[in-house]
Structure formats: C-alpha cells, structure tokens
Amino acid sequence: MQPVTITLNQREVSGRSGMTVLEIAREAGVYIPTICDDPCLEPVGACRLCLVENENTGALLASCVTAATPGMVINTHSSRVQEHRKNIVSLMLASHPDACLVCDKGNRCRLHQVAAEMGIGEPGLEKISRHAAVEELNPFIVRDTAKCILCGKCIRACREIVVEGALDYYYRGFAARPATFNDSPLEHSECTFCGLCLSLCPTGALMESENPYRGTTSEAVQSTCSFCGCGCSVSLEIKDRQVVRVLPAPGQLALCVRGSFGYEYIHSRDRLTRPLVKKNGTFEEVSWTEALAAAGEGLQRAGEKHGPGALAVFGSSRCTNEENYLLQRFARTVLGTGHVDNGSSLYNLAIRRSLGETTGFFTTSNFLETLENADLILVAGTDPTVTAPQVGYAIKRAVHNRKAKMILIEPRRTRLAFFAHQWLRPLPESDLLLLNSMGRAVIEEGLLNREYVSRQTEGFEDLSDFLREFPPEKMQEAVGIPAEEIRSAARLYAGSTRSVIVFGSGVTDTINGTGNIMALANLALLTGNVWGSGCGIYPIQKANNAQGACEMGSLPDALPGYQPVEQEETRKKFEDLWERKIPAERGLSAMEAFNSGREIPWKAVYMVGENPVACLPRPQLTEEALSSLDFLVVQDLFLTKTAQFADVVLPASSFAEKEGSFTSFEGKIGWLQRAIPPLEGSLPDWEIVLQLAKEMGDPLPYSSLSQVMKEIEEFVPLYESYYRPDDYFARELEKEWSYWEERHHRVFQSMDGFSRFSPPRPRTPYFQKDGEYPYYLILEAPLAYFGSGTRSGKSRRLRSFYPREVLKISADDAAELSLNSGERVKVVSPFARLETVVEISEALPAGTLSLPISFPGVLDLFRITRDDRRSPSLEPFYVKLERVNLDE
C-alpha cells in the first residue's frame, strides 16, 4: 500500500493510505483531544473536538473523519484550533447540568477531563440547560439525557457492535437526543441491557443503576466471565475488596446483561462462609479441619464398605480446567472410581457423540471470528442472542454489517427472525425430516461439493440411498413448510462455499437430538463446509466451562483430552504418570445414576459446583437418589437445593477469587485472575481438593496451580502450549489470534482426514400429540437468567428484572381458551403439573407453549429418555393446560 506523507506540526510524518489524520497523529505521538472517537466504532465526527487546521487551505477539519492525503500541512494546536476547541467545550458545558458533585461518573467523565485539560472552568456563557426526565425504572441502566452531549457512541455501539438498533437520534437541533423507538423506556425497546453503551458513555448520561456512589475505582483486574460458554474477557473493577463494576476487557467488544450486571452473586449474603457438617439432621458450622476430616472419613468409609465403584465425583462446568483435571485425578486415583462426570453432559453428550462420529471432531470446528466472516449462516434450533450472546452478536454483525445471508430454522419468532433471509418454522419434532429433506435436495439438485465428498468422506452412497426417502415434496406436509421453500434453503446453504451452521438445544434436546446433529453435519460434509475459512459447525454450549470440564476428563468414559478410558494404552500413559491403577471400565453418567432414584448404584458422592436437583429433569428422582446415599459432600458457593442433602458442605470461592482457566465453546482459553481475596471462610475449589486428598492420606503431588497447568500442557492434547496467562493478559490480540489459528491447524492435522456420513433415522416420539396432551412445550432460557439460576438467582438486579416464570402462549391458543395475559393456569404433563401465569406472546406459533428453564417446578414436567445411541433427551414435550379457578 502506498504510504501517505503529511506535514504535521512542522514535522513530516507518514502513514498508510486510508488512514485518517487522527490516526496518523496518534501514531506520531501527537495528542488530539476526542470524545466521540472509539477504536471499535465507525468515526462520525460528532463532537468536533478533534478539529485541526489544514494550513494549505485554512480549513478546520474534524481529523477523525478526514482521510490523510499526500502533501497535507496540518496544525493540531494552532491558536485558531485551540480557540475553536475551547468554544466547543464551553458550549457543551453551557448546556450540561452542574451536577458534577453528585455524579457518579466522577473523574471518569470525558467531558470533565477535556475541560480540565484545556483549563476551562466557568464557560462564561449563559446556561441553557436541557431538561429531561431521568429514566430509572429498569434495574440496570439510569438514563439522564440532560447530561448527553450527543456523541452518538451509544447509538453507534448499539447498531454496529451488538446490532440491536435500540437507539437513534430523535428530533433535530437542540431538541435532539438519543431515544428508543416511540421514545419508550429501555425495557420496552429492543434493548437487551448488554451494558455496552454504559461502558462507552463519556458522561453521566448513562449510568449503572442501583449502585451506591463509587466513583473512580483504583484497580481493574482482567478475568473471564463465569456465565455462558462464550468466555468473554471481563475487566473487574475493584474498590474496598469488592467487585463494583464489570466492563468488557480491552479487545472484548461487548458483554451481555449477565456479564455486565450478574456479578452481584459474588457478594451475595447467602454465600457460604463456614463449612457445615450435618449432625442429627441439622447443619452445624464447623472448622475447615473438622469438615475436611469428616468429608475424608465419610468417603473412605463408604469406599471400604462398598468398594470404590460405589463412589462418584462430580466435576463442574463452573470450575476451571485445572480444578476439573484435579477432580478427575482425585476420583480415579485417590478414590479409585471411574464414576466421574460433570453437569453439562446432559446437554452435550449428543453433540459429542454425533459430531465425533461424523465430522470426527467432538465440538465446535472453528472460531467466532470465522463465523463473523461467513457468507451464509444456518441457525437451527437456538436463540444465540440469549444462550450465547457473543454468537448472537457475531451473526447479527455478519448479516447487518457484512450483508451475509442467514437461514433460520426455529419455530419461535426470536430476535434473529428480524435478520433472517429465510425463516423456516418446522412443526414440532419435524426438524430431522426437514434437515434430511434439505440433504436430499442438495444431492438431487447436484449442489454437493463432489471433490470434497470423494476425497474427504466415506459413506456417501449409503447416505444418498437413505435420503431417497426424504424428498421435500414428500416431507412438506409433515414439516409444515412448502417443498419449494425447503429447496430454496438447501440451495442457499449449498450455494455458498463459506457457510457455517450454528445449532442449539432446540434441535439437540429433542427426541431426534443425535439424528438432528448428524443431519446438520451431513449438510456441512456434503457441501464441504466443515473446516477452513468461513466454514464451520458451532454447537452452542451453555455453561461457561462445559467444554473445559469435558476436555479435562470430568467424564465417565474419557480421560483428559477425550482419550477413551477403555483404551489400554491411554490408561497406561496416565497410570505411569499418576503411579496408580485407573479403573478400566467406563463409569456411569451422573444422569443415569440420578435417574434411577432410590436404585442409585452409588453410596457416596463428592459433588463440586453442581446442583443436579435444580438442573436435572424430574427433581424428585434426584432427591430420592441423594437421600438414599450413605454420604454426600457438596462443595459450592451457596447452600443449594442439592447441598441440603449433604452430610458435609464445603464453601467454595467464586471465579473472582481464584486463578485458572476456562475453555470457551469455541475451544479458546480464557484466564482468571484473582481480583479479590477469597471470601472469609471459603477456599478455591482446587485448594479444597488438594487438602481433601491430603486428609485422606493420599496427597496429590502439586504444591501450586502452575504445576497442574504444566501437567495439563504435557498430557492433554490441544493444550500443549496453553499455559500463557501473561500473554493472555497482555491482550496482544494479533499474537493471540495466530496462536488460535495454529491450534486449529493442529486439530485439523490430528484428524484422520476422513469424515463419515451417518444416515439419521427419525424416531417416533413416545408421546404423540393427541387429544389429551395437545400443546408442544418448549424450554427457553431467559437472558437475565442462567442455567438453573444458582448464581444468577442470587444477583439481585437480574432477579428483579425477571422475578418469576411465565408460560408463553400464542394469541390463537389464548383466544381459543379465552385466556388473558396474567391469568393463572396449570400446565399438566404426564409426570407433573405446574401452576403458573400466562403471557400471550407473538413469538410462538399456535399449538406451542414455552417456559423458562431456570425456575422451580419447570423441569418436573419432563423426564429424561435416551435415544437409540444412549444420548439423553427430554421427554415428553406435549402437555395440556387447565384453567385455575380462583373460586376453588
């Protein structure tokens, strides 16, 4: 590229072509004040502070939007420029309220900083204040447009980065201000409370709500968000040993409502601060020494009495990689049991099995950056704007900013429907028929990538024969979508060589879960869109470290790195390393065990960070199972429903109080840093495990976390060089990206080069829609809640925003039952009933209901079933409604 040389303050400086004057000045170390400029946003030249003088023409130019041209002579601080800048700031101050004393923005206020730099005190102009009602009804953001200086950062961020478009300028001139559509409050607009505008607002116009005055914080610590599988980098601002604010870390574009506002659980009063031991049926606070002794003794006694096969250990998707590694080693060597699992397996076993069998790789095959650069995105059965917001942002950016195309397969009208080019709404349980018929259309119309199929795959002939049963014309009635639409979706997907697939629980947690994933993988394989630039398959993982927990071997059938426990050479490798014999048989999965209720084959369980009573279907069975155990140790932040059944409860520390790493759903490592000391009385999970092992007379040979990391590097495939927190926190993003690309390459190399087509045969649902149970029930995840709500439910603001569950019902069904929003109904499934409140929703098609997963009683309605490949799914999906008569 041609360099551009300009004269800047009597000095020759060069930049690359296309650079703005501001960028060149910054590279040359010349300071130009700015307010509306942000490296992540398109420049608009709104604040005019970056004015510079072009000495050739005498023109004053906004340097952030002026491209540098050869021969320009620029003065950044001529007296004329300075005078103009002072005027601009004075004018801003003249319409800005004199509320600095009580404004929480304090010294972080950019307007304040700029005025101070220029030595402007009293503006010397008549004050014309803006008057605006302060909007503060929602629990997250206080909006006071009287303090707004119209820099447009909130508007641009909302449109360009999170692509919600909730805000734009409203009116003109002095009356102009950022507003939502119809000027409605944020909670009634498209706003998702991601908090991005809050982190960018230069003044106090947008402030975090319900926060006592905290002003400038002295310390910010980078860490990784503890909620979903996206693993966002967060910056925790600390004051007086408390996390008082969470912002996106450098390089992280945006967070979501959970990441920005859900941190309150760290300081919840309900946190456990003393170990508890149950004596005569009631918990008593005891010392750590006593608790560890009781835990160790209980496990030991059960092991001696019933054999090590009667013991089980739960790792957790909430724990770090290192903790999960320690836990599975603890289980396999100290306790000698192969029963190790983590709570995410209910949701990702089907993914692991079917992707493993088809594409040959167990999880997401590419990165978010690739997703954002795809030309076509097929989204099936998921609302990533809720379950994995970063994926949602990436998809919306691809469609809105890059004009990529999107096909949405989803019965609900989710936010993505607004962005979709083709929106397919299949009838309940017909996803597999739809996906198979798309596959059939691809083959029949000759849209497949023949070269890829013959070179890289096997089993094509079988699949092709099998798919003959599924022509779109034959399927259209069962699917509820005209054949031509199915064909055009297939053409759209196959017509791009940069297509990605994103899918989630809507297709995986169904009767055909495994089959759906295979059918999606088949589509990718047929068109050669599995690997490479712009291609990929992205299963959405719910919990933050679900990926890491599985990769670290917190699984009944695999040692670290998905290495099968039944393989002798793998076992040998770890046996040599750990100098212990490892059980050779695969263990029982947690769900299999807990769903046997009283028949549970275990006698003692060590449960870390999981709450199966709240997150497995049919909690009664889990409760029965837990109460028939001889001994239960629970290690958690809170006295959860599961912990109530424990004999010993060990208080653990939250993510902000410890070190370690999480693996995001795309396989990237995010590091934690200790931002605050562990809450008095609690300990990080890894320390507890080490102490417990010591207590049981078989100490694990680590004295620090870094020794665990070294071992992981050496023995877990794909983690060879993961131990790099220093690099990670330096946020050298280019370096980081090249590391991930290199890893991706290694993954690809490690495959045997062949992928297999698997013909997915649809199963008949156990419970068909019939007169008795006429409604199909969908489980949803509300944005403000996460998983079972163990932590998000302790975050006051999230809780107040979404206080209780509501049953969503389509307008047609509501009319038929003459129900109005706010009325009470009973949802009845063959297993349980739940009394709740209805809300009429435009998002649902007739015949479909939805309930949020995070609330008590919801999961009682379901039962786990196993499909023919032993991957669990939820059953049934059909329910009926009964009106609640208030007179009764």
């Binding site: 805000l167 003109r172 559509f181």
Partner: protein, 162 residues
C-alpha cells in the same frame, strides 16, 4: 389537547402496498414516507416498524429520519392548514396581532391541530410575500394585507365552506 384527538382508521394494507412498491429502490426511505404522508396526511407510528423491517432498518432509525425533518409528521393533521407569517416585514406591520387573532378564532396554539381534525395552525419564518404583509396562507392559498376583520371573515368563510 392531542390526547383527545380521534385517530383516523389507518389502512395498513394500503401502507404495505406502498412499502412494497418502494422497497427495491435505491435509498427508498424518504420517498416512501413522503408517499405515505401524501396519502394519509401523516406517517402513522404504527407503520414505522413495518417500514423498518421491509427496508432492513431498525425502527429507531426510521423514527430518527422522520423526526429529523420538520415536514414529516407522525400525528394526524387538520384538513385545513393555516400558516401565519412571522417574518420581519409582517412583524412590523402587525403580524403578531394577526397570529393572536387566528389563535383566538381557531382556539389553537402554534403547531396544534383541532380535536375534530379541521384545522392545524403553524407559523412560518417568512412566506416570501413581504409586499402583501402581514400575510397568511390557508391550504396553499395566500392571503395578504391581513387585518382583524379580514381574519374573522376569512376563517368564518372557511368554516362556511364545509
């Protein structure tokens, strides 16, 4: 005042037809909303999300454009638009009194529309007919050399024409 206003029935079907005829044009937003205003007298806020979805814009963006232009309206306007000039020439020749009288006569403030949607009163910075000052315009017809008597007559006649 505006709360009591009766909102006319909006034929959303027709609005969708208009949107359909513009959506594939380049830069369709402004001609599209002008067309809607031409036919309905204003741009019904209810139509904004529909317009936005068709043009791949956000409702807030469409609202931003509509609220930016003085001559795009989101509220119903009267069947008769009365514009009174407040330019310098009119001012020195009693324009202020004319405005006051018109306000009294119509019982309306500036930029207000009567409840029965008969009149909308607006002021204009200059009509460009200074020779006829003080002047006003009713439905694109210019009336010059206004005085109290003429105002009364004129507005009564307007009513009489109903």
């Amino acid at each position: 005042m505006s709360e009591a206003k009766e909102t006319p029935e909006i034929n959303m079907g027709r609005i969708k037809e208009i949107i359909e005829s513009y959506r594939h044009q380049r830069w369709p937003l402004i001609p599209l909303v002008q067309q809607i205003q031409e036919e309905f007298g204003f741009i019904p806020p209810r139509s904004i999300p529909v317009i936005a979805e068709a043009l791949n814009l956000f409702p807030s963006e469409v609202q931003g454009v509509v609220s930016f232009y003085e001559q795009l309206y989101t509220e119903p306007r009267g069947r008769n638009i009365v514009r009174v000039c407040r330019g310098t020439a009119c001012h020195v020749r009693g324009g202020k009194t004319v405005l006051k009288l018109v306000k009294q006569q119509l019982n309306l403030g500036e930029n207000q529309t009567s409840d029965d949607l008969e009149y909308t009163l607006e002021t204009v910075a200059c009509l460009g007919v200074c020779a006829l000052s003080p002047g006003m315009v009713i439905n694109n017809q210019v009336y010059g050399h206004m005085n109290p008597k003429k105002v009364k007559q004129l507005l009564r006649r307007e009513e009489g024409e109903e």
